[in-house]
């Protein structure tokens, strides 16, 4: 019996140019009147995005020429962006493109990584965040993580932990109750948990846990809410609930969301920043970026050619 020959291995010579197997079709043909979304745009473009009235916007943060490096590896290269209240900003891009690093540098979480070095400037309401106390900054710019991570205490205590000063046990429950319930109502969780606020938070479902984490982040009364792929560990139903919540929240806080999910970015974001290899390739309104990308890289990414 003769063994079949394995297919030849494709090796990349240094300097060789890789051509995608299928050259991506141009996302749209530019039309003279671009009032309607183009027909040939990415398939999700026409679905699922409710037309929304633009909210009045206030500029909260300004990222100026920000670069972040881990030891020798440059993770973010000279990125400049505005972050405004009243809109949702989505950071998209392939894995390892620096979106999460950019997000983490907005509340100085990058400082927890010893090898990280930072240059450039980030301002919050016009003040350089490097000059702020990290604990103050992080109460004004709070963050929700990819994995739901409620603390190992009751639902009530998870919120109360944020409201109390550092490790203090006071003020007591009764005086915190209204604030806790308000935060839970804010995240749309109160109705489901109001009868068992003393249950351990880790017994909640994944989607409820993530909404608790959002409630926790809102309890600090932030000006900016950072979300690092908040739905990637959740089922579609919970994702929908959280997406609706995010859209609602943009009225009160500036929302920045990192997502791998282009449909999600399309559904909830008002502005989208596309990053690739640490650089900000394109920044623009969601409609413009998905239907009329200016950069070829963006066009390839949003049409699904790579990433």
């Amino acid at each position: 019996m003769e063994l079949r020959k394995p297919p030849p291995v494709r090796r990349l010579e240094p300097g060789a140019t890789v051509t995608p197997r299928q050259a991506p079709a141009p996302v749209v043909q530019l039309r003279p009147d671009d009032t309607a979304p183009a027909a040939s745009a990415a398939s999700f473009v026409n679905a699922g995005r409710a037309s929304r009235a633009a909210a009045p916007t206030i500029e909260r943060m300004q990222v100026e020429e920000l670069s972040v490096a881990y030891a020798q590896r440059q993770a973010v290269r000279s990125v400049s962006l505005p972050i405004r209240q009243g809109e949702v900003l989505a950071l998209i891009g392939p894995s390892g493109c620096g979106k999460t690093t950019l997000l983490r540098s907005l509340n100085r979480l990058t400082e927890l990584t010893k090898s990280a070095t930072l240059s450039g400037r980030v301002t919050l309401d016009g003040i350089d965040i490097a000059g702020l106390e990290p604990t103050d900054l992080r109460r004004r710019v709070t963050m929700v993580f990819q994995q739901p991570n409620p603390f190992p205490m009751s639902i009530f205590e998870n919120i109360a932990y944020v409201l109390r000063e550092q490790a203090k046990r006071k003020p007591r429950r009764s005086s915190l109750r209204p604030a806790v319930e308000q935060a839970l109502a804010h995240a749309g969780l109160l109705e489901e948990v109001k009868d068992n606020l003393d249950h351990p938070a880790l017994r909640l479902s994944g989607g409820q846990q993530q909404r608790l984490c959002i409630a926790r982040a809102l309890a600090a009364g932030p000006e900016v809410l950072l979300l690092d792929e908040p739905c990637s560990a959740l089922d579609p139903q919970s994702t929908k609930v959280i997406e609706d919540l995010i859209v609602k929240l943009r009225e009160e806080v500036a929302v920045v969301i990192v997502t791998h999910n282009l449909q999600q970015a399309y559904r909830i974001a008002d502005y989208v920043a596309f990053m690739y290899l640490g650089e900000l390739i394109e920044y623009g309104s969601t409609q413009a970026l998905f239907t009329r990308p200016r950069q070829p890289r963006t066009q390839e990414y949003v049409s699904g050619a790579f990433g």
Binding site: L109, R138, Q147, Y161, Q166
Partner: protein, 317 residues
């Protein structure tokens, strides 16, 4: 090329091993053999002690003092039982807090790094040190004049034998167990949980006190109970540093403190003395005491198991 397609040979774990290769079948048989062998050895010890112990265990043994002095013919082991709990309590009282904070420092700070490495290897060394060696060192330490207030003194000579001395040296046995268990518990907490707390404007120390230590509570309890079990099973330190007097002999007038400064015995030293090879040679009492001791240790292990299982219930992914 389907990943789920069952290949020939090893299929489902519940299936027959008839189609396995010979070496695999031999491996399985060996695993079963040794597994059952260890169960049998363990069971034999417990059954032996139970049979011997229960037939000799009379309730009055637990209520009564042993006879005073090495010629004590009558009595039970009330004082050794109390001694066991006291000495274990002192040991945990020292090793618990010190061990937990050492573990927190190693896991959460780890700086200065060279010092952390030295502490790590010291703890490993401590875990491997025979208790006789620790006991010998303890004698030198507690006979020094500076520590004389911890035990009886007579004309400027420090005896160096007391519950304080024994408990302090036993805590060195407990320390590595507490540190290792708590550190593992802390390291099992995913990093994003710490960051979630920092991202709400909480400091590192607040995060440790309010989030990390509560999250590691099962391992805290486990570590302390395991350590307690180890300490009450030690003999060398007790014989060297507790004076090995059958009854509690207080020193000084302050109630409570006099016992801690005084000498006594524990179940292990009671067994040691009453064993057929010991000074007192009353094997029935040794068996009875051994049975009680092993019951305490077994109960601790069952509790450890219960807490360990509960800790696995709700965790982050």
């Amino acid at each position: 090329m389907s990943a789920t397609a069952p290949g020939p040979g090893r299929t489902s774990p519940g299936g027959s091993s008839a189609s396995w290769r010979l070496t695999d079948r031999a491996g399985l048989a060996l695993a079963w053999f040794f597994g059952l062998l260890f169960c049998a050895i363990c069971g034999a010890i417990v059954i032996f002690l139970a049979v011997k112990g229960i037939s000799d265990l009379r309730p009055d043994l637990i209520w009564t003092n042993p006879g005073a002095g090495p010629t004590g013919e009558t009595g039970g082991f009330l004082d050794p039982l109390i001694g066991t709990l006291v000495v274990g309590g002192i040991g945990i009282g020292i090793a618990g807090p010190v061990g937990v904070w050492t573990a927190v420092w190693l896991s959460e700070y780890g700086r200065p790094a060279p010092l952390a490495r030295v502490v790590e290897s010291t703890i490993e060394m401590l875990a491997g040190a025979p208790s006789v060696v620790l006991a010998l060192f303890g004698i030198l330490l507690f006979e020094s004049k500076v520590l004389g207030f911890l035990s009886a003194t007579n004309g400027g000579i420090v005896f160096g034998k007391s519950f304080f001395a024994a408990g302090a040296m036993l805590s060195l046995i407990a320390l590595p167990i507490v540190v290792t268990t708590v550190r593992e518990g802390l390291q099992a907490i995913p990093n994003h949980v710490r960051e979630a707390s920092y991202a709400l404007g909480k400091t590192r120390i607040t995060t440790i006190r309010r989030v990390l230590l509560p999250a590691a509570r099962p391992s805290l309890i486990t570590g302390n109970m395991l350590a307690f079990g180890h300490m009450i099973g030690d003999t060398a330190i007790i014989v060297f540093l507790l004076g090995d007097t059958q009854i509690l002999q207080g020193v000084g007038g302050v109630p409570g403190l006099n016992i801690l400064r005084g000498t006594g015995s524990t179940l292990t030293s009671y067994i040691f003395d009453n064993a057929p090879t010991g000074d007192l040679n009353q094997p029935q009492k040794a068996y009875a005491a051994a049975f009680v001791l092993i019951l305490i240790v077994l109960a601790l292990n069952v509790l450890v198991d219960v807490f360990g299982r509960r800790s696995r219930e709700a965790r982050w992914s």
